[in-house]
Amino acid sequence: MAHEIRRTNRRSATRGMVYLVLIALSVLAVGALIATIMRVLVG
């Protein structure tokens, strides 16, 4: 039982981290997009 719980925890830990990394990378992608748009508009 305890083994089961640990395994589920490990799996959800990995999932949580993957989600967060994806969110963070999409933030950076949006940043790059804004920089490009602003470059065209202002530069």
Partner: protein
């Protein structure tokens, strides 16, 4: 009558008992750099940490034996303990730092310790580039201890289970035992931090290897960078901060870690439970997304107009990195301090100051006013406008999403706006004292004051090893207030006042 207003000898013993436990923990933390110093044969550092650790551990054990009491821990005690823990913790954490001889005076060592424990990241150390490995590791480790510590405190004490983060005072559940909550929360937080520690350090070490570091140096810098980034601290191993690495890969990994660090543990928890939609619906994420997008557009506009950078790559590496560093309250620098004054024009630094003031999410290691308070303040404004526009008989109900759908109450609004005002007050006081002591203008002192008061760590150059002592003391108080979001410190002040009143009556 709560114990808060009539403290007795038992209450003081209880507070001393738990402070002893905090010092015992700090002593154990010091054993880690002690082991590092032995391994790297830095004998001076060995003696510093041996003295610091033994002092903390002895006091901790003595208080454990002498101050045990049957009185139960209440929320009021908890607040007082937390406020004192960060203050006394900083004093004791400063001991090995001062013994290293790298600080001008004891207050400077305490500034550094407070900066580390509150995850601010401002540094007044002399000759950082030649600091022994163990001493440098210790500074970074303190950020981790202070950072994870505050998250546990906020989640289990201030928020009583994470439901009332926005409330100024926890008015209910006062006498409920808080320890089980504490332990459960602590376990989850260290699970998340541990997972990120392994993954983040690995990613950083690989990026540093690719940048040409030797494996041992890559690992050493990787671990320190992880502590400084995930705990949104912002210390760095080298004086040049992130500029030292000249590596896009390192900067991207650090940005990802900073963003992960600014996420509240409520959202971490939602993601672990496979509920990514919660992130999109949460008032705090939405507020942060909207304000940060606005600030980044302002930064880009300001920098392109000032002609500072003209490529998208430079904007990404300088502009976006600095903004993420500001919003997450980390304070890693990709610019030399003066650059904000000399090259950045007016609009871009102003946007950075705005981002620093708002800071990250509540119940994370990020500092600042916090996005949830800004979001609630905005909802309150909309709510009030709606009330004016609708007929008198109409019932106006405003809701927001934070974990679940909530109704905006007057109490929540008042608490959020009060803390928001207190933060602004702290920024102003710091800026004015900066003007009185030292020869900087209002732009510089405002930038620095917001950075210190929000526990950010970006510096325009006012903070330096030889800054005036009064200003240093004010900044220490600002860091302390900002980290504890005023509440716990006010509880402490109230407690001390009631003690004094009791004495005078007796």
């Amino acid at each position: 009558m709560s114990t808060m207003l009539r403290p007795g000898a038992d209450d003081l013993k209880l507070i001393g008992f738990y402070l002893g436990k905090v010092l015992l923990g700090l002593g154990l933390v010091m054993l880690v750099p002690l082991a590092v110093a032995v391994a790297t044969r830095e004998w001076n550092a060995v003696s510093e940490f041996a003295i610091g650790a033994s002092l903390c551990i002895i006091i901790g054990m003595v208080s454990d034996g002498m101050l045990a009491t049957r009185r139960q821990l209440t929320w009021a005690h908890g607040m007082v303990i937390v406020a004192l823990a960060w203050l006394i913790g900083a004093v004791f954490a400063a001991i090995p730092m001062y013994l290293s001889g790298r600080f001008s005076h004891p207050l400077a060592a305490m500034f550094e310790a407070m900066s580390a424990l509150t995850t601010t990241g401002m540094s007044v150390i002399h000759d950082l580039d030649h600091t022994p490995i163990a001493e440098d590791f210790y500074r970074h480790l303190l950020q981790f201890a202070g950072g994870q510590g505050i998250v546990i405190v906020v989640l289990s004490l201030f928020a009583s289970g994470g439901s009332r983060v926005a409330s100024l005072y926890v008015s209910e559940a006062r006498d409920e035992r808080i320890l089980p909550n504490f332990i459960r929360t602590a376990r989850f937080i260290f699970l998340v931090a541990g997972t990120f520690l392994v993954a983040g350090t690995t990613a950083l070490t690989l990026a540093l290897l690719a940048a040409g570091f030797t494996p041992s140096r890559a690992l050493y810098h990787g671990i320190n960078l992880f502590f400084a980034s995930f705990d949104t601290g912002g210390f760095s191993t080298m004086q040049a901060s992130m500029l030292y690495y000249h590596s896009m890969a390192v900067e991207i990994v650090v940005m990802v870690l900073m963003i992960a660090g600014t996420f509240s543990f409520g959202l971490h928890f939602a993601l672990w439970r496979d509920d990514p939609r919660e992130v999109l619906r949460h008032l705090e994420t939405r507020t942060l997304a909207i304000t940060s997008t606005g600030f980044f557009i302002a930064v880009c506009y300001g920098l392109y107009r000032a002609g500072t950078y003209d490529s998208v790559e430079a904007m990404f590496r300088k502009g976006l990195f600095t903004l993420v560093s500001a919003v997450s309250s980390t304070g890693h620098q990709v610019n030399v301090g003066d650059t904000y004054l000399t090259d950045w024009g007016v609009l871009a630094p102003a946007a950075i100051v705005g981002a620093m003031a708002i800071g990250g999410m509540a119940s994370s290691t990020a500092g600042g006013i916090k996005a949830i308070r800004v979001g609630i303040a905005f909802k309150t404004l909309v709510h009030d406008i709606m009330r004016v526009l609708r007929p008198d008989s109409a019932l106006v109900v405003t809701t927001y999403h934070a974990g679940r759908r909530r109704i905006l109450t007057d109490e929540t609004s008042r608490a959020a706006t009060t803390v928001l005002l207190l933060f602004i007050g702290s920024f102003l006081v710091g800026a004015i004292v900066g003007l009185l002591y030292g020869d900087h203008d209002i732009t510089q002192t405002m930038f620095e004051s917001v950075s210190v008061g929000s526990n950010i760590g970006l510096s325009i150059g006012v903070v330096n090893p030889d800054m005036p002592k009064v200003l240093m003391a004010v900044y220490i108080v600002q860091m302390w207030l900002g980290r504890l979001e005023f509440v716990a410190v006010f509880a402490l002040v109230g407690y001390v006042l009631s003690l004094a009143r009791r004495r005078s009556h007796a």
